[in-house]
């Protein structure tokens, strides 16, 4: 589905992603993990054509750079971590933009199919009741759900998520990951996401890509990559012990088993 070959991203003389190659297949949820400054978000930016890069990003065998912007949007949808909407658009107006790549010019009409997909996206994200509310009045979690609904309305085979729950509380984190987990179950779909929380990566991911200082240091099944052997040198700490210590706090208080 997605084939990234020899991807290199440079900002001036500084190489933030150095010769990274990987593939993503249908049914896969690839978690890109690594410490701050590892180059995780730059990989996402390069795939979504937001920064210049060398190497190749191909979708179903076609170089993304040879595709029109609307066709790229039909290949994958991108959900970022922050949104700064300038004006008081309603939730529905934001979600409706997800169908942009399937529309024509000023006088075109949305087809029935689009309407059905928009309704489904609003329903899946629990935003039906808020559809006519201004996005400026939403909480962080509701706003992120609105943009998730926009990406779902885009109906792409591949979802690309850049730390989608970074600023959200546990309830919304769980809600959004569960939603995406349901979404990826459908045939010929896949997800690539950057996450900081290694527990979330292990729970929801099928494969993982471990980055360190712009280089790929591990790629494979999620439990093989996110293990002490690979992640301890990258994070310069005993990650597993830290997680166990955190969990033991709950066990001492009787909050866990």
């Amino acid at each position: 589905m997605l084939n990234v070959t020899n991807l290199t991203v440079r900002f001036g003389d500084y190489t933030v992603v150095d010769n990274v190659s990987f593939t993503v297949s249908p049914g896969e949820w690839l978690m890109i993990v690594g410490p701050n400054g590892a180059g995780k978000s730059s990989i996402i930016s390069a795939i979504s054509q937001a920064v210049p890069y060398t190497g190749t990003v191909a979708f179903n065998g076609r170089d993304i750079r040879s595709l029109k912007s609307k066709d790229v949007a039909k290949c994958f949808g991108v959900l970022t971590q922050k949104h700064a909407v300038g004006y008081s658009f309603t939730v529905e107006e934001v979600v409706r933009l997800g169908r942009y790549s399937f529309s024509g010019g000023f006088f075109s009409r949305n087809e029935e199919v689009s309407e059905a997909i928009i309704e489904k996206a609003l329903r899946m994200t629990g935003l039906e009741a808020l559809r006519n509310q201004s996005v400026l009045t939403l909480s962080g979690g509701e706003l992120q759900r609105a943009f998730l609904a926009q990406v779902l309305a885009q109906d792409p085979p591949l979802l690309i998520l850049d730390e989608p729950t970074n600023h959200l509380d546990l309830v919304y984190q769980r809600q959004i990951f569960e939603l995406i987990s349901q979404w990826v179950q459908e045939t010929e779909r896949a997800v690539v996401s950057v996450v900081h929380d290694l527990s979330l990566a292990r729970k929801y991911g099928t494969t993982a890509l471990l980055m360190h200082k712009g280089k790929l240091v591990g790629h494979g099944p999620v439990n093989d990559v996110i293990d002490s052997e690979h992640i301890d040198p990258v994070y310069s700490m005993d990650v597993r012990q830290w997680m166990v210590d955190l969990l033991s706090q709950w066990q001492k208080e009787g909050g866990g088993t």
Partner: protein, 347 residues
């Protein structure tokens, strides 16, 4: 909250158009010599039907005042207001900034340099009255835009809106200093330039109306065509790219259409500030931020606002007439502070 329609409905077009026509008729009636509405309507109707049937238009004194002086002026004012307001809405959507306008993007100042150069040194195109000023203003508006975008691109590959606004502001200051320099060397043309810089459509003729209408139809169509893309930009440039908008192409197309429209308006009416800033913001409060609704609405409301400003300019201190730019800037300055205050308070 009530659901907003996705596009401007027929009834809304009818209401906005009716308000615009009524305002235009009132503005044609009022002035140093007031003409009854019935006489105004019959003079205009007579002239329009006469144009089709070949019969001569009415020749009363009132009819002459209306047809030769007031009607072309009011039409030119309405078209200028519509154009500047449409440009303001487009730029505000594109740059996701309610305080953006063609005037603070640097395009108006660039056009002003071109027009001032033409007036000061008498550039002209044989056989086309005032065409030298118009072409010069348009050319300089384009050059300004190219300079602003080139500099922005060199500083920032993604042509982010913040970079464009920053470069635009710096360019505005630079262009203003050039205009001042031209005024210094303008000799006996100083008064003409200064009066033109304050903005005035008092001497507008039907040929100006034709040029303004033509440019509004041509370049306005480009802006209208990209209404959906402007929605995406107004939500966020990164989001626009992610939903499939060709952000580079849309940015260039809209900015070129805006600079051309502003160039035409500046060359005919001078620098008329704040219309493009205030009207889109106020109209957005009524019809919402969706550009498929906002763009038609600002076209009408910009026309109405500038017609009323022009009416005030020629009647408030009658028989003395104020430059229209003075009235719009006076109202606009207060509105600008109010918008800025509300924007900051909303954070």
């Amino acid at each position: 909250m009530k659901k907003r329609a996705e596009r401007f409905r027929l009834i809304e077009y009818a209401v906005f158009a009716a308000v615009t026509v009524v305002t235009a008729i009132v503005c044609v009636c009022l002035g140093s010599v007031s003409v009854p509405i019935s006489e105004t309507v019959s003079a205009i109707f007579g002239a329009v039907t006469g144009a089709f049937t070949g019969s001569a238009p009415p020749e009363t004194m009132h009819a002459s005042v209306i047809l030769a002086v007031r009607l072309p002026r009011v039409l030119a004012v309405a078209l200028t207001g519509a154009s500047l307001s449409l440009c303001g809405a487009a730029v505000q959507g594109l740059l996701r900034n309610p305080l953006a306008d063609a005037s603070n993007l640097g395009v108006s100042s660039g056009a002003a340099v071109g027009a001032a150069l033409s007036i000061a040194f008498g550039f002209s195109i044989p056989g086309f009255f005032q065409a030298g000023t118009m072409v010069s203003a348009m050319v300089f508006a384009f050059i300004s835009l190219v300079l602003i975008l080139t500099l922005s691109y060199r500083l920032d590959y993604s042509l982010s809106t913040n970079t464009i606004i920053l470069i635009g502001l710096i360019f505005t200051m630079f262009a203003s200093s050039i205009t001042s320099l031209i005024v210094t060397f303008a000799g006996d043309k100083v008064n003409s330039i200064i009066f033109w810089m304050m903005g005035s459509l008092s001497g507008a003729k039907y040929r100006d109306v034709v040029v303004l209408a033509g440019s509004l139809v041509l370049f306005g169509a480009v802006i209208f065509y990209y209404a959906r893309e402007l929605n995406a930009f107004a939500i966020g440039e990164e989001n626009a790219r992610n939903v499939g908008v060709n952000v580079g192409r849309v940015k260039y197309a809209v900015l070129i259409a805006v600079s051309a429209l502003v160039g035409v308006c500046v060359s005919i009416g001078g620098s008329i500030g704040f219309v493009g800033l205030v009207i889109p913001h106020m109209t957005r409060m009524i019809v919402g931020p969706n550009h498929r609704r906002l763009l038609p609405a600002v076209t009408f409301s910009g026309a109405v606002f500038l017609m009323l400003a022009d009416l005030a300019a020629r009647t408030v201190l009658s028989p003395r007439e104020l430059p229209i730019g003075v009235v719009t800037s006076f109202v606009g300055a207060f509105a600008f502070v109010l918008i800025f205050y509300q924007t900051r308070k909303g954070r």
